[in-house]
Symmetry: C2
Subunit: 154 residues, 2 copies
Amino acid sequence: MGIEIERKFLVNGNAWKAAANSVLYRQGYLSTDKARTVRVRIAGDRAFMTIKGMGSGIARPEFEYEIPLEDAAAMLDDLCLKPLIEKHRYIVEYKGLRWEVDEFFGENRGLVVAEVELDSADQVVELPDWVGSEVTGDARYYNSSLIAHPFNQW
Amino acid sequence: MGIEIERKFLVNGNAWKAAANSVLYRQGYLSTDKARTVRVRIAGDRAFMTIKGMGSGIARPEFEYEIPLEDAAAMLDDLCLKPLIEKHRYIVEYKGLRWEVDEFFGENRGLVVAEVELDSADQVVELPDWVGSEVTGDARYYNSSLIAHPFNQW
């Protein structure tokens, strides 16, 4: 198990996109209960099952296991709650930190969020210009919430 | 992924116990939704995460992954729905088939069920003397149902 500490922000403009490569993510949920979220994700040509607990503040317990791609595809198609979440994930390095920028499509088209993973909850973070409002802990932006309440219905 | 085909029966008496070894099972659920059950199980000194779909008839799609014991212990303690299911599982060979007999304790004490896994849904099964009523497909006997409705409340 690991403890996940991360901050999440909305994204302005496209400046962040210039030097970034992206991977296609396709993911779904077997449980969206915030106390025991179970996610199935295909990221490029690899697949993972990830379990997250509630935690406290911005730190959440997280367990992740790589699983066979064909298992993930079958679970996404047949078992996971619909709609699935589809997005491009871009990795952007900035001042020594690794930002993950998610550009959603499908029913969440128009939503772009940036996440940075930290070593401690009080770590000082220098924000890139293209980072907007912080939405850490705002449940509407949880990927698991975007199934029941996709961005195009906000 | 595998397809699980199994039949389940109640058990009479203790004759089945004579030559059987047992392993202690401790398990809990991250999702008890019948269309996407997610189980965490410690079986002796190994641990597994198992996902089952709805399927049709007595065949259910099943995905199982071995996970680290300490992850399973943390998920059982902190994430899984309560109460946990605790039981002894006995393996009994009979006429070439392998029966799994589960003797529950805790809030399900008094319940003993036997399951046999089959190669096809129409396979002929010779039943041991100690096997009673068939309860295949009876949702009350799903381990995932025994959390919300334990046997001592029936």
